[in-house]
Every structure is written in structure tokens, then in C-alpha cells.
């Protein structure tokens, strides 16, 4: 068990290292991208550009630049942005992380609760009209582009229906830290939570429903029923528990991706200064150090959750350990 975990974690570190090289190559080795020129601003003299190149080591060979960047990122931890010269990146990420966490965790709670409810309802009510209806609604949620849904939400909550009782409480787009004003924090996040959750409720309720149906027909459940245990107990103690294994592992993977900055478009559409938006703006400005930092930050979470889920699954299902 420990060996397995150790192996997984070691390969995770290797993957991240390889990723950093990949990102570096993608951006640094592309013609047409000239960081020194970008940093130099409006109409610099050739001397200015040369001075910047020297200062930031941009005239050194690529491997040297890579090592310098990784050193500043991981070891001395004072890597600076190219778009905002002198602005340190790690504090920026530290500021953005709680915003993303607020968005993602809130949405996650919402979608887990709702998808469990819908999934269970659909499975229990299988055969009657509710099942396909619920599943249809779930599917529609899954099929929406999140940026479009967010825009439509903004159209109504900020403009069209803003003056009605329904949405007059909606504050202007933005974010307030929880420590500063919990009520405002909450109000800022409600619509984004719902928007993000709609995307995932569909998928998870379907997964749960399918897992429930499959588990239900298995022997140990039939045995429980035969023993006379109430339907409700059967559901909760036996079927649900088993079905949640798959649910939880998928949830872990998706949560990892979202915390990593995967809610990029949601953050942009709702004006939340999270890691996703930071990444997006860095990509739009070709701010290479920030891109490197945010990709690695994100990859860390993705790889971590992948590994955790693998470990979890291996504990529960010994057959997988062999694969």
C-alpha cells in the first residue's frame, strides 16, 4: 500500500516537472513572442530592449532561462510578472486562490447535494414519468456552454430583472472576501454558484442514478431485502454507499480540476478575481512567468487529486492495483 502510494506520488512529481518543460517550450520557443519587447512598453529604444534582456536573462540560451525561471519560482519564490514588471506572482496566486476556492467549494456543495437528490429520486422513481424528465433536465444543464449561461444570467440578474424583488439583492459583479463582509461575500457568489453547479448536476445525477440501478440488482442488496430490511435502509446503507465510490472518485477529479483554475470562464464572466481569471489574463497578455506559475499550480492540484483518487480506489478495490 505504502509502496503503491509512494510510486504514485513520485510519478506525480515527474509529471509536473515534465509539464513545466512543456509549458516553457510552448511559450518560449515560439517565434513572434518577444518578452523583452513586451516589457519595454511603448516605443523603446534598442538600448532599452537590450537592457531588459540583460536584466531578465532573456539573451541566455533556453535551458538556462528555464532553470532561472524554475529557480525563481520554486526556490527563491520571487518570480515576477512580465506584464506588470516588478509585480511578484506568488502573492498574486495566494490572493486569487481563496476566491477560486470560495467559488468552487460552494458550487460543489450545491451540486453534490442536488445531484444526490436528483439521482436518488430518478433511480427510485424509475419507470415513472419523473425519471426521464429529471434526466432530460439534467442533460440540458450538461449541454450548456458555461460562458453563455453566465452571460444570460448576468443579463437578467444585473440588468433586465435587476429591479424586481427577485434580483434586487444581486450586487455588482465582483468579489468581497469572507473575512471582510460575509453577507456580501455570499451575495456575490450565489449566481456564480448556481451557474457552475448547473453544469455538473446533470453529469453527477446521471452517474449516481446509473450506479444505483446497477448496485440495486446486485446480490448483497437482494439479500438485504430478503432479510426484511426496510427499503429506506437498503437504499441508504447499502446501495447508496456502494454507488458513492464511483461518484466520489469522479468528484475528486473534477474538484481538483476546478480548484486548479478550471472555472476560468465562470470567473471571467462573473468578474471574480480567481486563479482561473489570473491564468486567462496571463494567457491573453502572453505573460509567460504567470502562465508557468499558474499552470504548475493547477497541475499540482490535478495530479494530487488524481493520485488521491487512485489511492482511494486502490484501497477499496484491490483488483485495480494490478492494472
Amino acid at each position: 500500500m505504502i509502496a503503491f502510494t509512494a510510486r504514485r506520488l513520485a510519478s506525480a512529481v515527474l509529471v509536473m516537472l515534465a509539464l513545466s518543460v512543456l509549458v516553457f517550450l510552448i511559450f518560449f520557443a515560439t517565434p513572434g513572442i518577444d518578452p523583452a519587447r513586451q516589457m519595454a512598453g511603448k516605443n523603446p529604444t534598442p538600448e532599452t530592449i537590450a537592457a531588459i534582456e540583460a536584466e531578465f536573462g532573456l539573451d541566455r540560451p533556453l535551458p538556462v532561462q528555464y532553470l532561472k525561471m524554475m529557480d525563481r519560482l520554486v526556490v527563491s519564490r520571487d518570480l515576477e510578472s512580465y506584464s506588470n514588471r516588478g509585480a511578484e506572482i506568488l502573492p498574486q496566486i495566494a490572493r486569487a486562490a481563496p476566491v477560486t476556492l470560495s467559488l468552487v467549494l460552494g458550487a460543489a456543495i450545491l451540486w453534490v447535494v442536488l445531484s444526490v437528490a436528483i439521482g436518488v429520486a430518478a433511480a427510485v422513481l424509475r419507470g415513472r414519468i419523473w425519471d426521464p424528465l429529471l434526466m432530460a433536465i439534467a442533460l440540458i444543464g450538461m449541454s450548456m456552454p458555461v460562458f453563455w449561461l453566465g452571460q444570460v444570467a448576468n443579463l437578467f440578474t444585473q440588468d433586465r430583472w435587476h429591479d424586481t424583488v427577485l434580483f434586487s439583492w444581486v450586487p455588482p459583479l465582483g468579489y468581497t472576501p469572507l473575512t471582510e463582509d460575509p453577507v456580501l461575500w455570499f451575495k456575490h457568489l450565489v449566481i456564480p454558484w448556481i451557474t457552475l453547479a448547473i453544469l455538473y448536476i446533470g453529469f453527477y445525477s446521471r452517474v449516481l442514478r446509473a450506479a444505483l440501478i446497477e448496485t440495486e440488482s446486485q446480490d448483497f442488496v437482494r439479500t438485504a431485502r430478503a432479510k426484511g430490511i426496510s427499503e429506506r435502509r437498503v437504499l441508504v446503507r447499502h446501495t447508496l454507499r456502494t454507488s458513492m465510490i464511483g461518484f466520489v472518485s469522479l468528484f475528486g477529479l473534477d474538484l481538483g480540476a476546478l480548484v486548479a483554475g478550471g472555472a476560468l470562464l465562470t470567473e471571467v464572466v462573473f468578474g471574480l478575481p480567481g486563479v482561473g481569471r489570473l491564468t486567462y489574463r496571463a494567457l491573453a497578455n502572453l505573460d509567460l512567468p504567470v502562465i508557468m506559475a499558474t499552470v504548475l499550480y493547477g497541475a499540482f492540484f490535478v495530479v494530487l487529486m488524481n493520485a488521491l483518487v487512485d489511492v482511494l480506489y486502490a484501497r477499496l478495490d484491490p483488483r485495480i492495483r494490478e492494472a
Binding site: G32, P145, Q151, V152, A210, E214, G262, L264, L265, L283
Partner: protein, 334 residues
């Protein structure tokens, strides 16, 4: 022996009313997109790619500006939905017919989604089978490589590649892809979802390899090509087919996200995503420019998801293929 499971599956699919209805809707959308030039010429009488800022059109018999300037001299407003032949859904800020562009946009979006899916299927099949069959260090390299791509947050990889490749296009030996061609987003989207499919293919190959009839064939000295084409592909095919509608659906969503961010389909080509982007600057005054293509995206993706369900039920009623938790990784952009 290989004929009847397919026929059985098809019959099951046909009985699935949801899937059939979705297939019909999909056909309607595809047909409408294919007929885009006909619509543009004969119904809308416009060139959906030419600016028409100072043009006029007749609505209810009256002549109105397509893009009407405001009395204050500040700003202008494009015409809203006329519900007539010309400018059925109104005009965008360039004075172009939104409905006609939406149909052309469908062509781009559907083309890219399909080409990308085919690319993913081809590459994933090759990689998956080679990894599963060869084993050893070849498998290790391929698997690690797939792990690497998968660890890169998918949307980030797409955005990074798109951002960078848009500057120069692709030039790999004989293969050149121009930055403004539809092939660029298609290739990018095709590449990023390879691990999504390659892993189940590899898994299926591995489990097939262990099965008796395959071991027997190997013992009998069957050559590799015979093995692949005779035994493996027919059994791997259902895996691919089950995933295909889902992949196409995800591709549509990914392409629309990239185009919305202006790093997908490039102007003056149109796709549903670019039209949503066009409508962003008109969201509060002419919301239909953004809402309408979004609705089309939802309908298409929904149809594909239902068909995907149907195909799964038909080919794999016990959920063996999609049931594996590792393979259900969602790759859409949030």
C-alpha cells in the same frame, strides 16, 4: 458471427425514442447548416460576411437603417429581430444578418467538432492498441505521455496551444496548417482529447489480450496485423463508438469556448462561439445575437448526449465500457 451483435444493437437503438428524436433534431440542424448558402441567397438576400454598416432594409414596408445611429450622435444600434426573410434575427454590429451567419457558423462548428473527433479516434486507437499490445517500455512511454497530457488541465492546454499556434500556424515538414484555417482549432481540439479515448482503448486491448481466444490466436502464430484487424479492432470498435457522440458534444463546447475567447475560429469565418462573442458587445440591447447561437449549441450537444446514451444502451447495456470510473473523466471547459 460479427454481424448480428451489430444488428441487435441497431435494433435496440431504433427502439429508443429519445435517441431517435434527437437524431432527427440533429439532422435538421445539420441540414440547415449545410443549406446555409441557400438561406443566405434566397431567403435573407445578404452576404453574411460583408459589412453592411450603412445599408438599409425594408421592414413592414418601411425602409430602415440596418445599423441605426442614435439621435445624440453617440453610438448606433443594429436592427433587432424582424422575423421576416431579411434579418430574421436582426443584425450584428457590422450589419450582418445574424440568422444567416448562424447557419454558416453551424457549418464551422460541426465541421471542426467532427474532424477533431475523427482525429482523436484515429490517434487514440493507434496509441491505445499499440500500448496495449506491445506492453513493456513502449507501453510505459505512451502511457506516461498520455498521463502528461491528461495532467495538463485540458482547457489550459487548448488555450495555450491556440494562443501560440495562432501566431504562426503549424509547419511540421509537409504538413502546413494556416493560422486562419478551420483545421487549426480542429487539430488542437483533436489532440487534447486523445488521452480521454486512448486509455479506455488501451484498457480494452489489455483485457482482450488476456482472453482465451486471443491467446489462442497468438499461440497459433497469428501475425500482428491479423490480430489487430481480425480480433482487436472489432472488439475495440464498440468502445470508440460509445464514446464518439460524447466526444463530438464536448468538442462543440470546447470549440465554442475557444472561439468565444477569440482563439478558436478566426474572423471573418463564423462559428457559433464567435457569434456569441459578437453578441457580447450587444448583450444588453440586442441579446438575441448571443442567445440564439447558444440555444443551437445546447440543442446540438443535448441531441448528441441523448444519442450517446442510446448508443451506449444499444451496444453496452450492462455499462461495462462506460462504467469504469477512470474513463469518465469530464474534459469540458468550465
Amino acid at each position: 458471427m460479427s454481424g448480428s451483435p451489430w444488428r441487435l444493437a441497431l435494433a435496440r437503438l431504433r427502439r429508443n425514442r429519445g435517441a431517435m428524436a434527437s437524431a432527427v433534431m440533429l439532422c435538421v440542424i445539420v441540414a440547415a447548416s449545410v443549406a446555409a448558402p441557400l438561406y443566405a441567397d434566397h431567403v435573407a438576400h445578404t452576404d453574411p460576411f460583408a459589412s453592411n454598416v450603412n445599408g438599409t432594409t425594408t421592414v413592414d414596408g418601411r425602409e430602415v437603417d440596418v445599423v441605426a445611429p442614435n439621435a445624440s450622435g453617440l453610438g448606433s444600434t443594429p436592427i433587432g429581430p424582424t422575423l421576416e426573410g431579411r434579418y430574421f434575427l436582426g443584425a450584428d454590429a457590422q450589419g450582418r444578418d445574424v440568422a444567416a451567419r448562424m447557419l454558416y457558423g453551424g457549418r464551422s462548428s460541426l465541421q471542426i467538432a467532427l474532424i477533431a473527433a475523427v482525429l482523436t479516434a484515429l490517434i487514440a486507437t493507434v496509441l491505445g492498441i499499440v500500448a496495449g499490445l506491445a506492453g513493456g517500455w513502449i507501453d510505459a512511454i505512451i502511457s506516461r505521455f498520455l498521463d502528461l497530457i491528461w495532467a495538463f488541465p485540458v482547457y489550459l492546454l487548448a488555450i495555450s496551444l491556440a494562443t501560440v499556434l495562432l501566431v504562426q500556424g503549424i509547419e511540421l515538414g509537409p504538413i502546413t496548417v494556416d493560422a486562419s484555417s478551420l483545421w487549426l482549432p480542429a487539430v488542437i481540439i483533436g489532440l487534447i482529447y486523445v488521452p480521454y479515448l486512448a486509455r479506455p482503448v488501451r484498457g480494452e486491448t489489455l483485457s482482450l489480450r488476456r482472453q482465451e481466444f486471443v491467446e489462442a490466436a497468438i499461440a497459433q502464430g497469428a501475425s500482428n496485423p491479423r490480430l489487430v484487424f481480425g480480433e482487436l479492432l472489432p472488439n475495440v470498435a464498440p468502445v470508440i463508438i460509445v464514446f464518439l457522440p460524447l466526444i463530438v458534444a464536448t468538442n462543440i463546447l470546447t470549440e465554442s469556448a475557444l472561439s468565444y475567447l477569440s482563439i478558436g475560429v478566426q474572423a471573418p469565418n463564423a462559428s457559433w462561439g464567435t457569434i456569441v462573442q459578437d453578441g457580447q458587445g450587444l448583450l444588453y440591447t440586442r441579446p438575441w445575437v448571443s442567445i440564439a447561437p447558444g440555444i443551437l449549441i445546447v440543442l446540438t450537444v443535448l441531441a448528441l448526449n441523448v444519442i450517446g446514451d442510446g448508443v451506449q444502451d444499444a451496444l453496452d447495456p450492462r455499462g461495462r465500457i462506460r462504467g469504469r470510473r477512470r474513463t469518465l473523466r469530464r474534459g469540458a471547459v468550465a
